[in-house]
């Protein structure tokens, strides 16, 4: 009898602990999203008000103001799109348009789009996408927009979590009828206990949070959702203070 009571108590305790942890993650997520919205909104509000009141009289600073307004509007747009899309992915309502694409071409295009953003923060991106001799073309059946978003999220993370080294490497190859796309950084890395958890929604690495690096905790969860929807997977190799390599693995399209 005593054993049954103790056993039941333990089960209840485990369940409550899990619920509390989920509640804490959700609370952290709400706080992070709130912050992610408030920062660009603050820039928009302050610069708009200053321009309206003619408090930015220098012409070059006025021009710079418009660049900030454009940048922050796009940032808000991306944030809203990410949150809405992630909600659709979670509920299984996301509609993908799978079509054959050359994976390396899509990666090159994504890197090209990303480079301006990276260079503005002092980063360079080195891409090395190689189709081995004898291998077929790197054609995969993917939703172009979702694929590019997954690669973009990995690039964003590589820059965000690299406080010292200012280079990000993108490697691509084909092996066993699969395309492997790796995004590598020499950043802060992830400890062993957190490696699996970071693909869960709302989960963020402790070191990143402690370092004050901002984020919502849905970027990698989206990458996992997208890669699985395309019949692939996402892998990570990482060492604290050495760096991380995230590899997107996708099956080649059938001929």
């Amino acid at each position: 009898m005593l054993l049954v009571i103790l056993g039941s108590g333990y089960v209840v305790y485990r369940a409550i602990s899990r619920e509390l942890r989920v509640a804490q993650l959700q609370s952290d997520f709400v706080a992070a999203v709130s912050h992610e919205f408030r920062s660009p909104l603050t820039t928009l509000r302050t610069i708009t008000e200053l321009l309206a009141q003619n408090r930015i009289s220098d012409e070059s600073r006025r021009r710079q103001s418009y660049v900030f307004l454009d940048h922050e509007t796009n940032r808000l747009h991306r944030l809203v799109e990410d949150l809405l899309d992630f909600g659709r992915m979670e509920s299984g309502r996301k509609q993908y348009r799978f079509e054959p694409h050359d994976a390396f071409d899509l990666v090159r295009a994504t890197v090209a789009d990303f480079t301006e953003h990276a260079e503005a923060q002092g980063f360079s991106v080195e891409a090395d996408l190689v189709t081995p001799e004898g291998a077929s073309a790197s054609t995969v059946r993917v939703d172009e927009e979702a694929f590019r978003r997954a690669v973009r999220n990995l690039l964003d993370n590589a820059v965000k979590y690299s406080p010292v080294c200012r280079t990000v490497w993108v490697d691509g190859t084909i092996c066993d009828r699969r395309v492997l796309i790796s995004v590598r950084d020499q950043g802060m890395g992830i400890n062993a206990e957190e490696k699996l958890a970071i693909f869960q929604k709302f989960v963020r690495g402790q070191a990143a949070k402690k370092a004050g690096i901002k984020g919502t905790g849905i970027g990698l969860a989206m990458v996992r959702q997208i890669s699985e929807a395309m019949g692939g997977e996402i892998r990570v190799q990482s060492e604290v203070c050495v760096g991380s390599t995230f590899t997107l693995v996708l099956p080649l399209a059938e001929d």
């Binding site: 820039t43 302050t46 008000e49 370092a211």
Partner: protein, 233 residues
């Protein structure tokens, strides 16, 4: 010149704060990293610190606590995206003097800055001023006597309203610096008073008639287009 240290890692917010505070006539230094904020704040005297909470490497609460621990008395306003009461209380408990929640209005922030600066360095009272040689400010043929609170021109007392004298005193105190209408409103009428810009302009026109040789081409009370006025006395 009032020196303000802005600790903010969001480039857009840092840019707008810098622009606005410089328009206000303040000297601005920018820092984007929490770990750099403490040595920077201690490296030279600042009149006020605007401190973001979520910063890389060291958060604003920690920076604030450390600065107070090291004995820095400079007024600190926290800029926070956090809206929970507990976080606001924590900010004040670690030594901040005020906090502003993002997204904030630049106008409100300016008012809070002025209020804190006033509290940090209160103007000498009339009693303290009495007998002080700096009570009399001369420019051209005019003299503003703050102890007697009168304006003289060529030694003759000129009739001026209390508001005009207060306005002129504000200009004299900030000789050579741009004073926005907003700031004049705050310095002369005080906060919470509803006065239009037009009222300030009318008082300036009236003052010019009393102190300028050619009021239509002022030499002392200079209009700064789109911003306010500057006293070049």
């Amino acid at each position: 010149m009032v020196k303000v240290l802005v600790v903010e890692d969001e480039p857009g917010i840092a840019f707008s704060l810098e622009s606005d505070l410089q328009t206000e006539g303040y000297e601005v230094a920018l820092v984007a990293d929490g770990a750099e904020a403490v040595p920077r704040a201690l490296s030279q005297p600042f009149d006020l610190i605007l401190l973001d909470v979520m910063l890389p490497n060291k958060d604003g609460f920690e920076v604030c606590r450390e600065l107070r621990h090291r004995g820095l008395k400079t007024p600190i306003i926290l800029l926070t995206a956090k809206t929970q009461e507990a976080e606001k209380v924590m900010g004040l408990d670690v030594g901040a003097d005020d906090y502003v929640t993002k997204p904030f209005s630049p106008r409100e922030l300016r008012a809070r800055i002025r209020a804190l600066l006033r509290r940090a360095s209160p103007e000498p009272s009339e009693h303290e001023n009495a007998g002080n040689g700096q009570d009399i400010h001369r420019f051209g043929a005019c003299e503003l006597d703050l102890a007697r609170f009168e304006l003289r021109r060529n030694g003759q007392c000129i009739e001026a309203t209390t508001t005009e004298l207060k306005l002129l005193a504000a200009f004299v105190r900030n000789r050579g610096r741009l004073l926005t209408r907003e700031r004049l409103l705050d310095e002369v009428w005080g906060t919470g008073i509803a006065i239009t810009d037009r009222v300030i302009d009318n008082h300036v026109v009236s003052l010019r008639k009393k102190i300028e040789d050619e009021p239509s081409e002022p030499r002392y009370l200079i209009s700064v287009r789109g911003a306010g006025y500057r006293f070049d006395g």
